[in-house]
């Protein structure tokens, strides 16, 4: 069984807890140090939030969050979303999206992204949203790309925002008002 197929069947058949155990068993069986990843999810994570002066979504492990999110229906997602995403990207690629060069993957995804917002029931905005959620709630995204301060200790109602000042990731995990 190919790993991708394994992941899909596992998503359909197991809970997240057993899924993670299965994925980790598979990774160990394949002699990998880290838990299994998904090439399709890794690719789109890297394209949406790439490495810059901070690690991007692929290095932050967001693909694994996507697997978890879809298995648990987070933000209205469903396990079928991965099939739908793959079909959209392969269709736009006229072939296997994952096999394309990174440059070509970028062009395909950029076109899919641009079209998705005018397409009712498109799966892509939901996946993209999950990538952002996964990245900015990861330790890398929350503390390196943005700033994280659980206990601000005060409220300053008007602070100058410089061009290089980063947002606080904990602003989102707190209640807005």
């Amino acid at each position: 069984m190919q790993r991708r197929e394994f992941v899909v069947s596992a998503l359909a058949a197991t809970t997240a807890a057993t899924l993670w155990a299965d994925l980790n068993r598979l990774a160990r069986a394949q002699g990998k140090a880290a838990a299994a990843s998904d090439p399709l999810f890794d690719a789109v994570c890297d394209l949406v939030i790439p490495d810059s002066d901070t690690p991007g979504a692929k290095r932050a492990g967001v693909a694994r969050f996507l697997v978890l999110a879809l298995a648990h229906g987070i933000a209205g997602s469903a396990t079928e979303d991965r099939h739908r995403l793959e079909a959209v990207l392969n269709g736009a690629s006229h072939g296997d999206f994952v096999s394309l060069s990174r440059v070509k993957q970028h062009d395909v995804l950029e076109a899919v992204d641009a079209a998705a917002y005018g397409t009712p029931d498109s799966v892509w905005p939901r996946i993209k949203g999950l990538i952002l959620m996964g990245y900015y709630t990861s330790e890398i995204g929350a503390t390196q790309e943005l700033r994280y301060q659980l206990v601000p200790g005060r409220f300053d109602p008007d602070v100058s925002q410089g061009p290089s000042d980063r947002a606080f990731s904990n602003d989102w995990t707190g209640q807005r008002f």
Binding site: I74, P125, Y136, E145, R154, D156, P157, Q161, D171, Q175
Partner: protein, 556 residues
């Protein structure tokens, strides 16, 4: 036989905690019964300081067992342990008439997760039923409650600004939290354009100055996880320590009250029968006084279950009032729009309150399009990283754009007064049972034309006011959201002057059962348009004072 306790308090939430505090401090031996589990202050706030990456689902949670609770704005993966599991706590509604019933079955109840907005009612509210004939006249007026508002505010700590508004009386406030830079600007523009309107900071039960055993707010705005600083009012942070300090409190968790026992010969409540929620074993407790504080709809449920030969349709229900005239504020996102001109400005810290625009309809002038009024809550905020998913863009440019706070927006959520109507009611379902064997509640609450007219006007006015900032309106809704989503459910055992048309008198005392007091939202005869919890607290301490006086005098 001598009763086991002087008083039994049913429920440990906002009003139950207050009843326990007041009654124990007045020397009564009190049993407080809570249906949910024990949660100890600080020790049991297990998710409070966890970072998103330390949570199993990054803070979003697996919500499949929480389809109702997750509609509440305080719900997330951190606070999920403070809400009921919907699958395990079913209730009934009519097809096509949903009701969102947000509940917290635990020590402290919803005091752990409440929105903390704390507003006095005025005689605009207490006089409303008499003025237009909808509902029965309140047997009390503002002067009856004012000193008890003082008492409550001084103890719990409410931060807010003094405004001198007749429709929203000032209280015993700690220093207010600050309006942010955009809110200050819109305040000036709105108040200049509309002299009858005010934009003020929300009055909130978060401390800006310390109290004994409690530290000021740290501006995390993660209150619903539980606050180890004790910076917001909850049973755990405030009333329970006070009640425990008396040595007069007995606390019983994991027991749901099945019924209040009634002795027809004496015409008094004699105690309660409760079920151990784990073993399902029944147990009875006796007392001289019963305070019912189980949360509005569950308190009504207890009364409906407390049938007897004299009261076959529920305790104290000689007429056909019990369960009827339930209400919730009709609410919706009246408008949200952008506010340009504040690029380069941001804020630091997370303020646990927003702004309020108090009611301005039917206050100084009569508006013939609808009865009563609405108020707004909301505020100015900057978009955060989720905004990246709402429009095209990928790659380094997207990452760079999301690195900074987003554009400023201003949102106004309208809360409209809900008229009391007999057809909006709670009944006991004749077939469906809770897992503990008790009959499920059936909740029927639909908004009428007046609520719809109020929110339609609220949308138009919100668009006009936000538009003063020069931005674009992104979304404006004029129809009410699902009933229950304001989480201000109330009524069902209303106060009134006439035992034929009300359950309780002006002291929250059952007309026909002198040692039974119902002091949570069930007692409400109208809904006003401001958050009701502070009024529940004031009515509870007022009732407790009266009850103890009468008890000691041998009158009840």
């Amino acid at each position: 036989m001598t009763p086991q306790f002087d008083a039994i308090v049913i429920g440990s939430g906002i009003t139950g905690g207050w009843a326990a505090k007041e009654l124990t401090e007045k020397g009564l031996k009190v049993l407080m019964i809570e249906r949910g589990r024990h949660i100890e202050h600080i020790k049991d706030y297990t998710t409070e300081t966890k970072a998103p990456w330390e949570m199993p689902f990054r803070g979003f949670g697996d919500r499949r067992d929480y389809p109702v609770q997750s509609q509440g704005r305080e719900f997330d993966e951190w606070s999920q342990p403070h809400f009921v599991n919907d699958r395990e706590n079913p209730y009934q509604t009519d097809p096509g008439a949903p009701f969102t019933w947000i509940r917290s079955y635990q020590l402290g109840g919803r005091s752990l997760v409440w929105g903390r907005q704390s507003y006095r009612w005025s005689d605009v509210d207490f006089g409303a039923n008499k003025l237009d004939g909808h509902g029965v006249d309140w047997p009390i007026r503002y002067r009856d409650v004012a000193p008890w508002y003082d008492h409550v505010e001084n103890f719990i700590g409410v931060s807010g600004s003094r405004e001198g508004l007749p429709q929203l009386p000032d209280g015993q406030f700690q220093p207010p939290m600050a309006l942010n830079v955009v809110e200050r600007s819109l305040k000036q523009q709105i108040e200049h354009a509309y002299p009858d309107r005010k934009l003020i900071i929300g009055r909130v039960a978060n401390l800006t100055e310390p109290k004994v055993g409690r530290a000021p707010c740290q501006y995390r705005s993660i209150c619903a996880r539980g606050c180890s600083y004790g910076a917001y009012f909850s049973t755990q942070s405030s009333t329970l320590p006070a009640a425990r300090a008396t040595g007069n409190l007995t606390l019983l968790t994991d027991h749901v009250v099945e019924r209040i026992d009634y002795d027809a010969r004496s015409g008094r409540a004699t105690g309660v029968r409760a079920l151990d929620t784990h073993s399902r074993q029944g147990v009875s407790y006796s007392a001289r006084l019963v305070f019912l504080c189980a949360g509005a709809f569950n308190s009504v449920g207890v009364l409906l279950r407390s049938t007897s030969e004299k009261y076959p349709s529920g305790l104290g229900n000689s007429g056909d009032v019990l369960g009827r005239y339930i209400m919730d504020h009709a609410n919706t996102l009246s408008a949200v729009g952008t506010v340009p001109g504040f690029e380069g400005h941001t804020t630091f810290g997370n303020r646990p309150t927003g702004i309020v625009i108090p009611r301005f309809r039917n206050v100084s002038q009569t508006d013939h399009r609808f009865l009563r009024g609405y108020s707004y809550q909301g505020g100015a905020y900057q978009g955060e990283y989720p905004r990246g998913a709402s429009s095209p863009g990928i790659g380094l440019a997207l990452k760079q754009e999301l690195r900074a706070p987003g554009p400023w927006h201003f949102a106004l959520v309208g809360f409209a007064e809900c008229l009391p109507r007999a057809e909006n009611r709670i009944t006991l379902d004749t077939k469906a049972k809770e897992p503990n064997g008790l009959a499920q509640l059936k909740i029927r609450l639909e908004f009428g034309e007046n609520e719809k007219a109020l929110l339609a006007d609220a949308a138009e006015q919100a668009k006009a006011m936000i538009g003063l900032g020069g931005g674009n309106i992104g979304l404006s809704l004029g129809a009410p959201g699902t009933p229950g989503t304001a989480i201000h459910e109330m009524g069902g055992a209303r106060m009134g002057l006439d035992p034929a048309t009300s359950i309780l008198n002006g002291r929250n005392q059952a007309h026909e059962v002198s040692n039974l007091f119902v002091t949570d939202g069930a007692c409400m005869a109208s809904s006003a348009c401001q958050n009701p919890s502070l009024t529940y607290m004031a009515l509870t301490v007022r009732a407790a004072d009266y009850a103890v006086t009468q008890l000691k005098a041998g009158s009840i």
